[in-house]
Symmetry: C3
Subunit: 109 residues, 3 copies
């Protein structure tokens, strides 16, 4: 048994879940926040048999789309009178970041 933990863009979460559930996978969904952009995203936990992990990863890869987002960096601490003109930086947001962890024991009561 493996636990697949996937952090995805919230816009992709619904489509991802439809695909996973449609193929009989079970999933638990958490509303999370990205440490860098401080924006909401979605973390999905999928516990599945070892032999179905590749299929879960394929579904995630196909359901989640990389995108570019523009971010204004936070202004630095400034002296009075100083001007600050931020240059937006381009950040590539991955379709998904996925961790596969081994499950030592699985119980369903």
């Amino acid at each position: 048994m493996k636990l697949v933990i996937s952090i995805v863009n919230s816009d992709d979460a619904r489509g991802l879940l439809d695909q996973l559930i449609g193929r009989g996978f079970r999933a638990t969904v958490i509303s999370t926040t990205g440490g860098f952009l401080r924006e909401g995203n979605t973390t999905v936990f999928i516990g599945t048999d070892d032999e179905r992990v590749d299929e879960v990863l394929r579904i995630i890869r196909q359901s989640c789309h990389t995108r570019v987002q523009y971010v204004s960096p936070l202004p630095p601490i400034m002296e009075p009178g100083e001007l600050y003109t931020p240059n937006p930086i381009e950040v590539q947001i991955g379709g998904a970041t996925v961790f596969v962890l081994d499950v030592e024991r699985f119980e369903h009561y």
Copy 2:
């Protein structure tokens, strides 16, 4: 050290926590959502010594009760004038779904 991750019905969470805390276990609680029913449930993280895992599992099994829930499937996309009469489906919701993961290193600062 093991990390026990248990997904339970939110109605059972308070009783489960009372039992765990009463026996000296520590727990962290997350409000989560089921991928299938899209309803709120509760995920509990319990880090504990290897020798206390069986006790944690017993407490979870005893605190969480299977139940049957009736779900109306989502209506399909329909043409104008079509009628849709959903037949509720019976879904058995487990008392708990539990993953036990090995913890390589534990620190408490």
Copy 3:
């Protein structure tokens, strides 16, 4: 690859994230609740290379400060006319509780 799961006081979360992000670490943040105090706290997931785990732990230890909190125990069930004068108990809240888990497979799509 390791997954560092750190439960910290919400007051320390912002400073912790600034330190982690400033050094190029990636993090995902979850609003969680302590099982004992039933108060909000913050859980941070940091996936990182094996060789950078010590640095992550050092950052967590330095960013998170132990503190003492006073808690009024819940009143017991009482007979009419009984008086209850709670003695606040002192609870030491750790700077951080950290679990390091092995990641069998990591993918970034």
